[in-house]
Amino acid sequence: MEHTSTLERVLRGIALSLIVLFFMFPLFWIFLMSFQTNETILRIPPSLFFEPTLGNYKALITGKLDTAAGSLDIAFMKNLWNSVLLSTSAVVLSLILGVPAAYAFARHKFRGSEDIAFTLLSFRFAPPLLVLLPLTIYFQQLGLADTYVGLIWVYQLICLPLILWIVRGYFEDISADVEYAYRIAGHGWFATFRKIALPLAGPGIAAAGLLAFIFAWNNFVFALVLASADKQPVTVAALAFVTASGIQYGQIAAGIVLSITPTLAIALYAQRYLVEGLSLGAVKG
């Protein structure tokens, strides 16, 4: 890079700024919107200057939405809690099921192992709408429709393949000799899995867990169809702001800010851990 001219640097700076602006501006605009009333949001031309209000956040947190047509109860905080509950449970369950499975696929080549692994991955190929109708019928017959258990189960379609395939790669990267050495030292296979494979694949498991969490959090269509209002996550709940008296842009914006905060916080926290983990120089002794 030492030969870059001033012009090149300036152009590069401009290009980078444009890209950042392109991706960050919507977020920034929503952040501003969340502090405005519908009137200031919808005025023409739009302006960066307004009287900030916490009304939107207050309405969401208290659950009382005052519109021109009267007062409306919304359960946004309940939906936020649903999102946390559903995503966390789904990821935890996926990790419990997926990590040992990934280890098995990485270390043991048994008959049909590749086929099984690929079938699990293929769940990600199918458009969700394709399976939703039969799934809805099954769930109604099994009594799983509109239950947390049913939703967490369906979320495995999103989380499990992701975790399985990412973590499998990390397990495969661990030198088999390192595990052999621990076995030969006198430890059983389960101790080897727990004390060697799990810690060494730790960063990968964290990355996969984080990614699965974000995918689960952002899911919309499964919850929309398979759950009723009191079990639905924030992604579906945002629809409630499309009211008879108009679309409540301010509350939607505040809702978005609140709902991306947990994933953003986890991502920022885990990023530090991921970088640490990956710079461990993990597998080479």
């Binding site: 088999a176 390192v178 050495a181 030969i184 006198g186």
Partner: protein
Amino acid sequence: MSTLELDDVVKKFGPDTVIDHLSLKVADGEKLVLFGPSGAGKSVLLRLVAGVIRPDGGTVRIGGADMAEIEAEDRGVGMAFQNFALFPHMDAFDNIASPLVAHRTTREKIRTGVEDVARLLKIDHVLSHKPRALSNGQKQRTALARALVGQPPLLLLDDPLRNVDAKLRFEMRIELPRLLADRGATVVYVTQDYKEAMAIGDRIAVMRDGRIAQLGTPEEIYGAPETLAIARLFGDPTINLLDVVPEADGEGLHVTISDRPVRLPAALRAAAGKPCVLGIRPESFHFVEASAPGAIPVEIEAETPLNEKTVTLAVTRRDRELLISRPAGTPAPASGSAHIAVDGAATLLFDKGDGRRIRGADDERRAA
């Protein structure tokens, strides 16, 4: 202490046979070196003994007991790996302690056990370091310490000096035999370095293509290799190999080098008239006066020092190149014409067709 017996062991990876009906016995306290080029199956054989991979056929017996149903963790062997295979998330102390931890020893015993072996291998000052903070030499010693700390009766060492620098390798080649002898353990040692093999092994098993090509003491392998390939693997500088056709005469058998006859043992008479390869170790030649019996005239091309030896490159009248080595410092002509001689009994004669050494009557008697 422990014996090791392999009986008709077979291991296949898919269509490739890596270990091909191999049988081997290692006596109690013996140090056996598995020597051979990479891909010969040495490391696989070691892992079969350790129990981390399973044979497709045959039996492995340690201390007389069949290991078919015994898991790796219950075999009580110690193993050091070529790539060290240290646990990257544990410090050197915990790495070395791992075999002791497995056997539920007291904390105090673990500490003294680790410290003793660390002092022996001169790594007691780095016990708190993680593997990535260790030099290659320290990693190698840590791996070795981990293999030794549990005092296993059977030690498997998979080319442990491969990834360390030349100086350290030289030191360890001197240090290791004493260290292993003090332990009294049965040792199977894998290497691709013939000097290491000769320094460490009571016996050497030369492996090729999943089989043992020759099994014998270092002297036997060096002095009487079964095939041309084995002769080439041992010795530095490598053995001189000359295409010859031995001729029978009144006294027995001879070949010609620089148009002069070199007598071969009469017991090899069967080889007369057949295309053969004559192997002469560089140190079997010596410089002589022109008038000496059996003197062979050569032109000296170059002279190079090689460790403790001096190596001379010479050509015969028929333009065949010969390497001649002698202890450094011994006087010899450095250029121009010279004469050399060789004792025919110290040469090796191989069949040019299949590369096997042609055995004389002496050999047969010795073998019997």
